[in-house]
Every structure is written in C-alpha cells, then in structure tokens.
Symmetry: C2
Subunit: 453 residues, 2 copies
C-alpha cells in the first residue's frame, strides 16, 4: 500500500468510524449473539491473495459489528466505563504510524521523555504527592492495566521485604499480602504469579503482627480507592500508619476512581496517598483515553527497577550506562512498548484540564441525580453509597426479581448494565462514564428500568 493508497484507505477508515459513532445508538448495546455466531461467518482458510480494502471494511459491518458490545454507546452503563475519544484515537494512530518501540530511551528518546513528562503533569493535575514525580526518587510509567501495575508493585514489595533475595534465589519463606474483601481480583492473581501464593493473600483484615509472630513475612498491602463492586474507599491514612510501622509496601489502586481527582472538590478520595509506595489509575477507564493506558507511580523507582531489570549485551548502550535516562523496559513485565504517551498528550491538550474536569463533573452529577431517583421510588433501594459515578441498587423484592430485571434490560439492547454481590445480595451497578452519555440517556435508562421492573 503506497502512501497515496494509504491516504485513500485511511479516509475511508476515518469515515467508517465517524459513521459508527454517529449511528451507535441504533445498535443493541449488548451483542445479541450466541457462542460461535461470529466465527461461523468467517472463512475457514485465510486468503491466498490480497483482497480490496473495501471488502475488509464491508465485513466490519457485516461480520464484526453484530458481535460487538458497544462500549462507546452512551447507553453503556456496565462494569466501569472504557471511554475513548477522538483525540485519543488519533494520538494512538500517530503512534501506529511512527511505529517506534520505546523499550530503551535510546530506541526513541521522545517516546520515553514525553511519557515521563505527561505522567509528571498528571501528578499535578490529580493533586498527587510530589514524591511520585520523576524529579525526585520516584516516577511514573504507563502500564497496560492496573493488574500489571499491581503485579509490579507486589514484585517490588516482595523484593524489598526480602532484601532483594527472592528475585535471584526464589521464594523461600512464607510471604503474606493484605487487601480488603472488596479489592480487585487482580491482587489474588498477582500473588499467584509472584510465587507468593493466592492463599497468602489475606482478604480479611488480619493483624500483620500476628502473621509476623507466626514466622511469615508480611510484604504488601493493596488499598483501594473506588472498589470495582461499589466504588468504596479504603481508609488509607489508617492503613498507611500500619504499613509505615511495619515497613510493609503500600500500593493504592485507584484504577477507576483516580480520574475524579482532576476536580479539586473530589480530591478527598486520595487522602493518605502521600504515604503510599505506589499508586495507579487508568485514564483508559474514565479519562477519555482509549485502552490501554494505566498510569503507575512509585515513590522509589530504584526498588522497581532493581526488581525488573535484566541487561543482555544487545540492549546495552551509552545512554543507559550514563544513568541519565529512564529505560522503561525495566519498569514493567514486557520488554517492547509502544508510544502510548501520545494519546494521553493528545487528550490533555485537546480538552485542557478544564475540559477534563467538566467531563468528570457531568458524570458525577448525573450519577447523583440517578441515585436520588432510585431513592424516591419505593420499589428500589440503594445498596451502597454512591460517592462518584457508580450507583448500586436493587429491587426490594429480592435477588430473583433483580436478576430478572437485569436480564430483561440487557436483552432489550437499549442499555447494558452489570451486577455484583454486596453482603451476599445481588446488586445492579449503573456506571455513568461514557464520552457521549448525556442526561437524556440516563433519564431514558431510568424510564426503562422503572417500566420493566
């Protein structure tokens, strides 16, 4: 494909996406297909000869779209949002176009330096502590997901707790990690990966001192700002106190909720974060940046780098050896990495800090309004406080009716929401965070919920 043909195919693709976004409300939000429906429409063998670009775009409409759940629909209220935006898409397109690989500073200095810079910006934008900035001992890096960020934090914690011995020789003591019952499942997964063992994650509150007396080595606490089930917020200052006294690594996972701190009036969610060893939030959830983009910060980058650095000859270079640069390959699991800072840079510049705040405020206000509607209707009850943009509610008549309501709503194709279980009871989760979600969509959702109830 010559550059001229690329111009033509590129315009067709841009037009296809624009049309998709214009018409997105026409599609059922939750894909209405059965397992195997999409594959059945695909040829068993790949084409021997190249096909026209038009044929490929045609199959997007014909084969792919019916099997897509429309995360960008303004009527998508499931899970947490994964809100993309036009500037993010185009920033990512430039990243694809440049096709650089930023494993080392030397393999594309701009890829590393823009990332460090934009992640420093975000420390100020969210009012995070200065210790996470690159100018001191800390620094930020883009990870794919909060799961990977938690894993890296846990690994650095494991090493610090064992004087960097386990990384070389393997785990030879019982290490323990702590989190609340409502923390994200990624921590249990990370403990399994790290060789600590899932059973050594204390999902209930349990004294670190008790484990120490039993001969175990407490190494890590993961506190959550905005749990997945209900955006509950752990008491960080009290947890930080315990961690400081016992020398245990404190990681704060604010994957979804962190973006709220763009607004000064919502920065209370981060109280105590100044004592954390590491912190992460996902612009790919609620800051208009398409997946994947998790911002992961550490207060002492040496602990992270010592844990993850391995340098074979073919990666050695003068810039790395000078110590004057960051080589981000040592800050996460993968070696290769794409230029993800571009999309974040495009988003921040296009919207400006004020524009991003307006977007958060709109969603929070809509969620508060929705919660007030739920409260005013006798058939429903709120199942948890709604401090931000997630409302947890249920039918007072119980789990079975609530489940039937959810299935009915999602089957209608007119909106999509998901569930959780709080204190043993089924709860519906309505998360408001779509780039294009307006008041009328939330009103229509409530109207539909009331009618179907």
């Amino acid at each position: 494909m010559t550059p001229e043909q690329f111009r033509d195919a590129g315009r067709q693709t841009i037009d296809w996406i624009a049309r998709y976004l214009e018409q997105i409300e026409r599609y059922p939000v939750l894909a209405q297909v059965a397992p195997g429906d999409v594959r059945r429409r695909l040829p068993a063998q790949p084409p021997e000869r190249g096909e026209s670009f038009e044929a490929i775009l045609h199959d997007l409409d014909d084969v792919i779209l019916p099997g897509v759940t429309h995360w960008q629909s303004p009527n998508f209220f499931a899970y947490f949002p994964g809100n993309a935006s036009p500037p993010a898409m185009l920033g990512d397109l430039v990243s694809s176009g440049l096709g650089v690989q930023g494993m080392l500073w030397a393999t594309s200095p701009a890829c590393t330096e823009l990332e460090t810079h934009v992640l420093d910006w975000l420390v100020d934008m969210l009012g995070l502590p200065d210790r996470f900035k690159s100018s001191g001992q800390g620094g930020g890096v883009i990870q794919d997901t909060a799961s990977s960020a938690s894993l890296c934090a846990l690994l650095a914690a494991r090493e610090r707790a064992t004087a960097f011995r386990t990384n070389a020789t393997g785990v030879d003591c019982v290490l323990t990690a702590y989190t609340s019952t409502q923390a994200h499942s990624s921590l249990e997964k990370a403990a399994g990966i790290a060789g600590i063992g899932r059973r050594n994650v204390r999902l209930i509150e349990r004294a670190i001192e008790e484990d120490r007396r039993a001969g175990h080595t407490p190494c890590f606490v993961c506190a959550t700002v905005g749990t997945t089930s209900s955006t509950a917020i752990d008491p960080i200052p009290a947890i930080a106190d315990v961690c400081r006294r016992s020398g245990v690594w404190l990681h704060v996972d604010a994957a979804h909720a962190g973006s709220a701190a763009l607004c000064p009036e919502l920065r209370w969610i981060h109280t105590g974060v100044e004592h954390a060893d590491s912190y992460c939030f996902n612009p790919h959830k609620w800051m208009l940046t398409n997946f994947d983009c998790d911002c992961f910060y550490v207060a002492d980058r040496r602990a992270l780098i010592s844990t993850l650095s391995v340098t074979p000859e073919y990666l050695r270079n003068p810039a790395s050896e000078s110590g004057a640069v960051f080589d981000y390959r040592d800050w996460h699991v993968p070696l290769g990495r794409r230029f993800r800072a571009l999309k974040l840079w495009f988003v921040i510049r296009h919207y400006g800090v004020e524009g991003l705040r307006a977007h958060i405020r709109r969603h929070v206000a809509l969620a508060q309004e929705f919660a007030s509607w739920v409260q005013a209707d006798d058939r429903f009850e709120l199942a948890a406080p709604a401090p931000l943009n997630l409302v947890c509610f249920r039918l007072v008549t119980g789990d079975e009716a609530t489940q039937r309501l959810m299935d009915d709503l999602n089957g209608s194709g007119r909106l999509y929401l998901t569930h959780t279980r709080l204190a043993g009871r089924l709860v519906l989760r309505l998360a408001i965070g779509g780039t294009y979600t307006e008041r009328r969509h939330v009103e229509a959702a409530w109207q539909l919920i009331r009618t179907r109830a």
Copy 2:
C-alpha cells in the same frame, strides 16, 4: 470533538502519517538528541484550556520528530525489525474507534472469536502442529510481547510441576528452569517474577536429572528458534526428547524467526515444535503488524487457564459459566484487552498469504546477498551463520575498530544497526526486515559500511 470534527482531524492525521512515510528517508535514522532535549521543549504545566488540533500536529513535527528513532525507515537495520504497515495501522485504528474491551467473551464476542479464528489461521499459515488449534485441547491468544508469553508459559509449567499447588500456597521447593546461553533475557526476568529465582535458571546446558537428584524440581525448558543475538536455532527434537522423558514443560520462543515459516521452504526452523507445550512468535516483528502483537499458543489450554483464572462476582456471566466460550482474560496477566485481532485480520486479508511470503522472501534474499558481500571483502568476516534475515559480522581488526565503525555509522544518521557479543567478541548485527526496505537500501548500507571502515 463531534464526528464531523473527527472526520477533519482524522484526515489531517492520516495525511500527516502519509507525509511522514513519504519523507522518512530525510530524517537521521537514529535520533540525534541528548537526554532531556525533548522534555526541555515541553511546557512545565499542562494547558488549562483545550488547544487546536493544528497546534498539536505542529508540535509533532517540531518537538516529537527530532526525538524519534525511525523504526519504519528502510534504513533501520537495528535490533529486530518492528515492521508496521498501512493495513495494520488502519486495523488498529478501527480497534480504537470501536473501543471495546475483550476481557470476557461476553464483553464483545467478536473480539474473542476473531482472535481465536485468526490464530487458528496462523497455525496453518506457519505449518504449526494442529495441537495448537482451538478445535482440540489447545488454542492461541494475543499477548503484548514474547516476554509476557514466556512468563505465562513458565507459570503454567510451574503449576503443572507442582500439581497446581504453588499458585495457591506459594513456592515452597526449589524449582529450576533451563535455557541456552543465547536465549532471550526475558526468561531470566520471568523466573524472577514467578518467584522461582533468576539463579535457578540454568543458562548453561545442565542435566535435568542432576538437579532432580539434588532435590530440585525441574519445571520448564525454553528453546529458541532464532536467538536475538544471531538467529541461532536450538536443536528442538533433542530437547523435546529430554522434556518428554522428564515431564518438563517445553516452550519454544520464535518471537522474531517464526514469521519465516510462512514460506514452506523455511519451515525447517520449526522441526520438533510438534512436541512443544507452548510456542510464540511476534507478527509485530516481521509480519507487518504494528506493535503489540505476540501470538502465543498452548497445547493444553486448561493448564494455562487454571494458572491464571480468578473470578470475582462482577465478572460472572452465563456465557462463561456455560463453558462454551473462551475468556481471554484467563490466558494472560492483564484483565482488560483491546481488539488486537483486527490489525492481524487486516494484514492477512490485505496482503494474502502469498503477499506475506513475498515479503519474507525478499528480506531473506537481501540478507543472503549482504552476507555474500561481507564474505567477499577481506576486511570483514561473518561472525555467525545467517540462516534468515540477520547478518552478524565484524571487522577482522578487532573489537575496537568494530565499535568505532558502529558509532560512526549510527552517528551519520544514514542507517542504524546494533551490536551483540558472540564468543566474547563484539559483533555488528544487520537485520533486514523493514516494510519499505529494498535492495537499494541494503546496497547503500554496504557502500557506507565499506567507505567508513
């Protein structure tokens, strides 16, 4: 940004990339900047108000490009290629536009089913064993990098060797893993992450039986098809024999070289792979698909899924519970995932299998020709066989002269190559794999190398 404004900004972005690709040979291949040069040009504070799209594109030229090392330049011969292509970029753009998150089959069925389908296609396209297909007990998944694929393979191996005990309770025995001295550094990193310990990776040939007699638990062998230093190929059939006898997991890392097997005459590189438990190759290296895209296959997907699956309430759904679908979140470290199969599908359909083969054959032929030029010049010698598209060579006058030559070549900005060390001696690596690299670029490179030598 409305869809109409997106059309306009999108066209500008497509034009910007087309122009970049047209003019790419004008830039120095290796960025000629010092640490901090890029950051110094960026404002200390993010903008309070949004800026015009034109201003952002302007800074791409002004601030970013001087700090970019041009991986897509036809004169880029460093590391291994990271060859992008227009259809891959546009496939990835569609993925950004759809903005779906494929953690579960249910969260966008097409995202999972297209991935399973295209990865099955690739089994046939590369002549890989049927056991890696989803129709049996195996299956393929896209990972970000071969590092992550190796880690997942090692984790599944660790679990299988300990009857799935360590995942729950932590590592409580000395586990050992094996690889050749020239294997990729990712394995050492993975062993550290997995709690096995880097020292328990045997970088030299060492009898598995000997470790077992010492009370250790051998769990994993990583064999390499096409090492990073010199595209050397491990004797897979002999290694597979040992693994089979001792019940040790065999992973084959063909990150770069695997794509060569698109051509039937090059499939000898995969001899013995039919006995592997897992295998990976990276279309983002040498199959025209922009980063990130590693194809990872397992022969027994249950071992992998048992290792990585954790299911909190908010992710439960009828499709998952029916067992009729794949939930790819259980096949890798991250939970969230983007629709990466689209770019692979676009690439395969646009080029067709024949088109992809032609591209591999062109690079291999050019490398063979370059190697013959090196052999014919008394001042140079080949430092290793060049079975594919990488030529390792050096000046006969020794390391110092070779180093000077490399610095001089890379400083010229006219090409970029990197080095390694083989048998203790410095070696230059010239890897031919650019989407736009033609004979004239390789000729010019050789001309420049001879002149500067």
